[in-house]
Amino acid sequence: MLHTGGLAVTESGPGRTRSHVNGPLIVQSDKTLLLEVDHELAEACRRAIAPFAELERAPEHIHTYRVTPLGLWNARAAGHDAEQVVDALVEYSRYPVPHALLVDIAETMARYGRLTLSKHPTHGLVLTSTDRPVLEEILRSKKVQPLVGERIDADTVAVHPSERGQIKQTLLKLGWPAEDLAGYVDGEAHRIDLAEDGWSLRPYQKQAVDGFWHGGSGVVVLPCGAGKTLVGAGAMAQAKATTLILVTNTVSARQWKHELVKRTSLTEDEIGEYSGTRKEIRPVTIATYQVLTTKRKGIYPHLELFDSRDWGLIVYDEVHLLPAPVFKFTADLQARRRLGLTATLVREDGRESDVFSLIGPKRFDAPWKEIEAQGYIAPADCVEVRVNLTDAERLAYATAEAEEKYRFCATTATKRKVTEALVKKFAGQQILVIGQYIDQLDELGEHLDAPVIKGETSNAQREKLFDAFRNGEISVLVVSKVANFSIDLPEATVAIQVSGTFGSRQEEAQRLGRVLRPKADGHQAHFYSVVARDTIDQDFAAHRQRFLAEQGYAYRIVDADELLGS
């Protein structure tokens, strides 16, 4: 029934909610919000809808936000109520907002917080409900039954402390997300201070740290190059407790260590690295996802790391890449503060809900463009270079096996020529050539007379090359996808992508991130993608670039002939 539905949407008194006749926002029936960015009220509107709507696409004129249950619950967790959400929509909407959508928003938001997890003085962890039928409904679920203990009273049921994460995950799947008010253990105290000598946290980093600390646990979303490590350091300085940091790979672990020593009162000896090569456990320990998820004889031998100390804070770097087993361990760590850091909540595997229930709701987020506008990341010029396959290559491409096709068109010889031309064009600047296929990279390295970093390159060698690149001793570096994540190349101003992991949008964002750090000399960053025309390479590129275009990085298309000719 349309007219009933227990609508909690109340009409505010006259004057308070005014809808603009020509507002910047258009509410679509599929729950996307279109924001006209050139509108005078666009900024105010963006601020009003940001708490509950995820920015999905940010091309040049109209930004698309999406209202999802997770987004609405994130807003609830951040203390917003349905009325604020509805007000924001009604106030800025250009056209009347469909009533059904408002009702739906109110109902969805009302689902959060009906169930709360809290500490009971005698019964330990308990699940309490303000709405008895909801409790009855979820207790009848087969998935919930093994997770709960005895019924304490009509509104309360005991929960096995070990199932705190499990039950949050399960309840979210049932559509009744529980608010976790059970608190955290302080962990083993360890003095950590920020060493703000000659630098300080940027305002948005400070906001992110505060947002996280106030919320208890959760995720901070910042674009690549916006200084997520410092947000982590800031959180540690707040917690002043032993910290476990989970990162994607060893290079990234070293980076973290380097940064922490530089930016905090921590010394080299206080920070341990727990990776394939070293197994140190110190007050602050940095571990890689890889070592944690190593399985031997069906068990995860490195799990004890989580219990080896009384951690007060756990930091997850690149949450969107968190491997599935880590979720499982995380479920058991619900009593400890958790900070997730990421550039995007979009996971290619669609496990956003696990991030929400196990690490926590989004606590802070700032779009790329905004931080770019503040001058913290460099503006980038994105160019797609289209190369033609030669006739012989076209025939070979047409007859190639399906699984070989991409490799074939991605490694066409013309790409090498284009790359050479580009390197020549930007001679003197720090250039990264990024690719997927080792043969192609080796060949490029040979022709460009540049070192190649690939999977087999030792960590010591990698760091040596990175240092050299950083110091400007070498200006061109050819890297495989091992360099996708968390390496810090402050002076790279040009990135040339010759092949990629099919259509991964993640990868595109990360690679762009390589050139986005602010340049000392204010140079504009360039991001080139070399793509073979009329092949699946072009299709994949289109998919990847769509992501960039949606992030507001308008790209140009250039014909290879144009480049080679000039």
Partner: protein
């Protein structure tokens, strides 16, 4: 009913002297002014078809069962309660008696105020006649409403003492008299009268009941508000015995006792109804919005409605789903439509019925019947949005088809299909109109509490289900829970009782979907729509009404137009290959863009995405790349992003690169001059040759004719096989395709096998037994010398009706269910529902004959009776 008890009301009266109280309904009608008669005919239009010859006939018709039932159904709750009270009152009843029955012994100012109106209404509708001192309920109404063992009274009262003791032995009556402490009389009639007098005397009755044990009183308590009947054992308990002995309970049968009406009335404090409802429930305000908010929400929904209808019918552009053999659309197709529109099946059914009702979609009538948009749809598309909306809303208001029933089951348990038969509910337009009118009684911007709307509607037309002897509150409560659980889908067999409530609920939901209401409050365009008398809106056949409605719809459209989003003529193009139309697009632009790009998101704005596929579609439809560039440049507020221009050029570059066509044969020759010669030769024209490449000609003729033709032109062509070898022509033997040899066809049927034989013998034996069995009944009766009378059906009906009215006997020819014909002489008493009931002189009893079995009627010569 005997023949002697002719309808007093209809009986042709002798001329009445002016001023005297009317003795019959006909007389009462005759005494009315013209306005009074007009009011009657307006309230009960069924009396008019056909127009009665005189007032006697009008009175007769007003007393027929069908008409009275209809009139009773249209009464509001208090008028009905008044009629019910009259039915349990003495006949005729003076006004004070009626008032006491309704207001009880204590009286009730509200009822005292409302009763004159209710009586006047009943009188106007010719359900009650007579002056205030002698109010008479029309006999048929009395029969319908008075308590009897077969159908319990809505009041929950039982028969009177006189009725209940009618079959009792005088001795038993005397025993009761004695037990009740009355002096014995020898005459049973006066004994009953004495008992009645006791029961109606509050003081003496009070004294009598003071003696009753608490158990006995609790027995009475159980029966007092009905049903008044109770089961007893052969050996009743002492309290029941005590009541029975004093006549406070009277036996109906060996096992059943009844509480006499007078006793019940005493216990009820004189009230016929537990809860008289003299005042209509008020429609309450659930929430108030600013009128602009309501209008804008409604306009938003109105716009959504238009978009939905367009989307639905556009998806059927190439032919919609199949029509089921029994009519309507299959459940699967409905599901698919619902999924496509992203709504529930109920809502999808509503949109489908709306389009159907507005004449925008229909069955194509082909052998393989499908639904498709009608030509009217194309006209509709050309209208401005507000007009389009009016064209949807006006038919909705008057439609009897009811989408809410879809998915439910009819009386035979068949699922009701959307667009299928049996969805018409005559009450629907009136309920819809009434619901909107009730909303219109609230101030602008106020949303009604739906529960109070339903309560009001139930009061205005109490559902027949409430005629059960249960407290009048109960059905409301039941309906209330029904409504909160939202079982409006009608999965259970449809009960007439709550149909109006369900119609009202659907009307509210549908009004919201159409944008007549916004946030549950009536929007201003809808108010304009309602600005016309109900009668005109409710009868679509009435020409005048239709014009009125269209005028009102036009007014509503004018009010709506400024509220709808204004059409825009531009889009914003973006580098992520999307185009955003920041509002509804002008039609030609929207159509062109829909070809060039895929719609990604709809609502106030439309988001289009350009893909290679969509661009190819545009090229296929005959646009060139430069057309597309120009089109985008012309309609974009922003520069065309380079990636989009590249996309179009990329697709256009490859579009049409490969060409496909059909040819029947080809000519190839390494020497292209020879082919040039052939083409230049005028004789080759008939071969349909076309040069595909310097060395290849394609022909439209088959290879054999082509060879023949070329040979006749003096060339020496050779035929080529599919592999390109030259075919050598040899004198091959001609063969048919593989064939089976013919099977032998023996003369006569094949010899049957034993199984078949056995079965045949059994069948023959069974038939034989059936044929030779001795029958109990004799064969067809002998027709009389004169044969059966034969008259037309209309004539038959008229004659028996006249005979029923005058009480004369007629001669009929009758064919019974076995097909046997007979002639009978009957004196018709009642003609209704296709049956004539009358005293059959031939059989010497009262019998009922179906009219369709009567072959004919003839009046009797006087001496024959």
């Amino acid at each position: 009913m005997g023949i002697g008890e002719l309808d007093r009301e209809a009986h042709v009266p002798e001329a009445t002297s002016a001023g005297a109280a009317p003795r019959t309904l006909a007389e009462a009608l005759r005494a009315r002014g013209d306005e009074g008669l007009a009011a009657l005919l307006r309230a009960r239009p069924d009396l008019l078809s056909p127009v009665p010859n005189d007032l006697t006939q009008l009175a007769t018709r007003a007393g027929t069962r069908g008409s009275v039932v209809r009139a009773l159904e249209r009464l509001d709750r208090f008028a009905l309660q008044t009629a019910e009270a009259l039915a349990v009152a003495p006949d005729p009843a003076p006004y004070p008696v009626l008032l006491a029955l309704l207001a009880g012994d204590e009286g009730d100012p509200a009822i005292e105020a409302a009763l004159p109106g209710a009586v006047a209404l009943l009188r106007e509708q010719a359900l009650v006649w007579g002056e205030d001192d002698r109010l008479r309920l029309v006999r048929t109404a009395r029969e319908l409403l008075a308590p009897s063992a077969q159908h319990p009274s809505p009041t929950g009262l039982g028969p009177t003492v006189a009725e209940a003791t009618a079959g009792m032995s005088p001795g038993r009556v005397q025993e009761i008299i004695a037990a009740a402490g009355l002096s014995a009389t020898h005459d049973p009639v006066s004994a009953v009268a004495a008992l009645t007098e006791l029961f109606t005397d509050r003081a003496r009755m009070g004294a009598l009941l003071d003696e009753a044990s608490p158990e006995a009183l609790s027995v009475l308590d159980r029966l007092v508000w009905g049903p008044p009947y109770g089961e007893v054992t052969a050996n009743p308990a002492p309290p029941v015995r005590w009541l029975r002995d004093r006549g406070l309970l009277l036996p109906v049968s060996a096992r059943t006792m009844v509480l006499p009406r007078e006793v019940a009335l005493h216990l009820r404090g004189g009230r016929a109804h537990r809860a008289p409802e003299p005042v209509a429930p008020v429609v309450e305000v659930a929430r108030e919005y600013r009128p602009q908010v309501v209008d804008s929400a409604a306009a938003g929904q109105a716009y959504t409605a238009l978009a939905t209808v367009e989307e639905l019918l556009k998806s059927w552009d190439q032919g919609g789903p199949q029509v089921l053999r029994a009519g309507g659309m299959s459940v699967r197709d409905l599901k698919r439509t619902a999924a496509a529109l992203d709504v529930t099946e109920q809502v999808a059914a509503f949109w489908l019925e709306l389009c159907f009702g507005a004449g925008l979609l229909a069955s194509d009538g082909e052998a393989d019947e499908r639904y498709a948009p009608t030509p009217a749809y194309d006209d509709w598309l050309d209208l401005p949005p507000a007009e389009r909306w009016a064209r949807l809303v006006a038919p909705w208001l008057t439609a009897t088809r009811t989408a809410g029933l879809v998915g439910g089951q009819d009386a035979k348990g068949r699922t009701l299909a959307v667009l299928g038969p049996d969805l018409d509910r005559a009450a629907a337009p009136e309920v819809r109109h009434r619901v909107l009118e009730l909303l219109a009684t609230l101030p602008p911007g106020a949303a009604a509490d739906p529960g109070t709307v339903f309560a009001r509607l139930r009061w205005e037309r109490p559902p027949r289900g409430a005629a059960q002897p249960v407290p009048p509150r109960a059905p409301q409560a039941a309906a209330g829970t029904d409504e909160t659980t939202g079982t409006g889908t009608g999965t259970r067999p449809e009960a007439h009782g709550d149909l109006r409530s369900r119609l009202a609920r659907w009307a509210l939901a549908e009004a919201e979907l159409l944008g007549l209401t916004g946030r549950g409050a009536l929007a201003s365009p809808a108010r304009a729509l309602l600005n016309l008398p109900l009668a005109e809106a409710a009868t679509p056949t009435d020409h005048g009404g239709r014009v009125e409605l269209s005028v009102a719809a036009g007014r509503a459209a004018t009010l709506l137009a400024p509220l709808l989003p204004e059409a825009v003529d531009h889009v914003l193009l973006q580098a992520d290959l999307t185009a955003v139309a920041p509002g509804p697009l002008r039609r030609p632009l929207a159509d062109a863009l829909a070809v060039l790009a895929d719609v990604e998101s709809k609502g106030g704005a439309t988001v289009y995405r350009f893909t290679p596929g969509s661009v190819r579609r545009a090229l296929d439809s005959g646009r060139s790349a430069s057309d597309l560039h120009d089109f985008l440049a012309a309609h974009s507020r922003t520069p065309v992003p380079q990636p989009l221009a590249y996309l179009i050029d990329d697709v256009a570059r490859r579009h049409g690169h490969l060409r496909v066509g059909a040819a029947s044969a080809y000519v190839r020759c390494d020497d292209d001059t020879v082919l040039g010669e052939i083409l230049a030769d005028r004789r080759s024209a008939a071969l349909g040759l076309r040069r595909l490449a310097p060395t290849v000609l394609a022909a439209q003729t088959d290879p054999a004719s082509l060879l023949e033709g070329l040979r006749s032109m003096g060339y020496a062509p050779a035929a080529e096989s599919a592999e390109g070898d030259v075919l050598v022509t040899r004198a091959d033997a001609y063969r048919t395709p593989a064939r089976t040899a013919p099977a032998p066809v023996p003369e006569g049927p094949p010899v049957p096998d034993t199984t078949l034989l056995g079965a045949a013998v059994r069948a023959i034996r069974a038939g034989d037994r059936a044929a030779t069995a001795v029958r109990k009944e004799p064969a067809a009766p002998v027709a009389s010398a004169g044969g059966l009378p034969r008259t037309s059906a209309a004539e038959t009906l008229a004659t028996v009706q006249a005979a029923a009215m005058t009480g004369t006997a007629v001669w009929i020819g009758y064919v019974n269910a076995e097909g046997a014909a007979s002639q009978r002489v009957i004196a018709p008493v009642r003609v209704e529902g296709g049956f004539v009931t009358g005293y059959d002189h031939t059989a010497d009893e009262v019998r009922t004959y179906p009219l369709h079995r009567i072959t004919g009627v003839a009046e009797l010569a006087d001496d024959q009776v």
